[in-house]
Assembly symmetry: C2
Homo-oligomer: 341 residues x 2
């Protein structure tokens, strides 16, 4: 094997050939960063045991642009996003796979930075990347790097979370401020200079989830409000459960610089993507207890009860505004922020 | 919800927004084609139970160009490829996930054709696509559609297949003719007109694998020779097991039109990708029995014992040619066929 020139080299078509150059890329870049016993098996698949219980599988393809942003990059995001999709079922995420689609000419130094960031996120979360794949497309047929991650996990006994479980009277909780990720990306993309004050909230939420379901196993459902933001995710859940929702705007935390940036950009923070927040719906009588658990966790310090599930055959999400009026919070129509994750 | 215009519509950025348009695309195209109880859960993750045993996970990103070819398309290929990666461990593949990266402007009719083909391949294989994700990138930042699939399966008790298990004296078996997939793609891409006589071998091999491990559980390892072809895959296994290999060229089946196309194109069929063939290494004394099982299966009718594992501290793969000489079968160096899968 020859040494990759990571400092100055670029991705070439030959790195996707299946031959020696691909083996070098995998060995010297991916395997070295992800470094675990499953990858070391060296097969086209990873083998492991899972604790008993229902298995959960989630997948996400990541195409965020730009690739690097305050608070993370496509690498850490691809780990956090899929861990969160698994965790929202109440499951403990166990293993990840990663598929890379690289564009010819992409700097190996940037790829290494991304892969190292993935490895760090995976190690911090305790969820190893156990198998993967690499493809290369010609210059102009991709955009630097796309990463598809799949996660599997196991649901602890006694949990039955699903988006169709919300019931009238339930409380709606949110783990923290909204809009941080989307506004960070957009500000960077448009060169607006807000990045000094704002930062993506990209983070893996499974330890927060574990604390929540441990204390309140009756949680009906959880979901992370990514693309389409809080508004769209709540509409999905209302639709799925056949209920309406009534929110209180004053309870929804939005950080001041994010609010300012949204005003400047003409964005409604309710529709802006988050990558480190969750919505939980639980029986009203357990809501205060759940809130306390969330606030006691570093990732839920700003958690709030933001509304109530109501009966509504139209499955509308409505909101009492800070001015005391009422507004509809509709599905996201049209496109707000392309390639946010 | 409004109706998608599948006949004349195109992928728009809004289909990746997370909002209503994305929900319509998922509902009217993906969910309808894949149609199963897990997708119907409507959550960002699928839940299921697995039979007891070691779990296997494999992932592949598919960027084949062109998207449609004799014998399949990127949709069926993305199902077959990942099922095969899971099956090569001896596992029964159970579930698949699929992540789509779509290029703005891609015809919805073509997308539907691909998705229907995936659905058919998944149903034929009995391995449902239980969860997925859709992203859209701007025109010129992708190439129609890329599909990342991940599969999970469970290894029957008593099996311990791995690329590092080959031992001197073992027999090397191949399930059928080589080169069909790669030559088909290249001929099509270069407008050579060979497609009339040739066809991709893309197929899911898990039922062949099940028959093989049932009869000969002592199989040391299996692998499907995709990118890099038979030559590269054997070199990988030789390296991993710390052995050499001695092949007999006369035993390696190559279909006549494939041989002719390879000659015309200046390709060595040993290095051309396959998508429906497997290599198995087993103890010599079980080789004839394994061969009989393979030949009795529709996917292994042309199976052959193509060589022997030998002691070799250099881990060389060598071949006795049809002319009685000997040649080295080295790793694939450089790039033969980009975007073959």
């Amino acid at each position: 094997m020859s040494r990759l020139n990571i400092a100055k080299g670029r991705v070439e078509m030959v790195h996707g050939s299946g031959g020696r150059a691909m083996a070098e890329l995998i060995e010297q870049l991916f395997a070295q960063a992800f470094d675990n016993e499953w990858l070391a098996q060296g097969n086209d698949q990873a083998q492991f045991t899972l604790p008993p219980g229902r298995v959960v599988m989630a997948t996400d393809s990541h195409v965020v642009s730009p690739l690097f942003f305050p608070g993370g990059d496509i690498g850490s995001l691809s780990v956090h996003g899929t861990i969160n999709d698994v965790a929202m079922s109440g499951a403990k995420p166990c293993y990840l796979s990663a598929g890379f689609i690289l564009e010819e000419g992409f700097a190996l130094a940037d790829l290494k930075r991304i892969v190292d960031s993935m490895a760090a996120a995976s190690k911090e979360a305790g969820v190893p990347i156990v198998t993967g794949d690499t493809k290369v497309v010609e210059r102009g047929k991709g955009d630097g790097v796309f990463i598809s991650t799949t996660g599997i996990g196991v649901v602890p006994e006694g949990l039955q979370l699903s988006g169709d479980q919300a019931k009238p009277g339930d409380a709606i909780l949110l783990s923290g401020s909204i809009g941080d990720h989307g506004v960070t990306i957009l500000s960077l993309r448009e060169n607006l200079g807000f990045e000094a004050d704002i930062c993506s909230d990209s983070q893996a939420l499974h330890s927060l989830v574990a604390a929540m379901v441990e204390c309140v196993p009756e949680i009906r459902c959880m979901r992370d409000p990514t693309r389409g933001g809080l508004a769209n995710t709540l509409n999905e859940m209302a639709q799925q459960s056949g209920v309406g929702m009534q929110l209180m705007e004053s309870r929804i935390p939005v950080r001041e610089p994010v609010r300012a940036a949204c005003e400047f950009l003409g964005l409604d923070p309710l529709y802006v993507a988050n990558e480190g927040k969750l919505i939980a719906i639980c029986p009203q009588e357990r809501a205060e207890e759940l809130l306390a658990v969330m606030r006691a966790h570093p990732q839920g310090q700003d958690a709030a009860i933001i509304g109530t599930v109501v009966e509504d055959s139209y499955h509308f999400v409505q909101m009492e505004t800070v001015f005391g009026g009422s507004r509809m919070v509709d599905w996201l129509n049209g496109e707000q922020l392309p390639r946010i994750c």
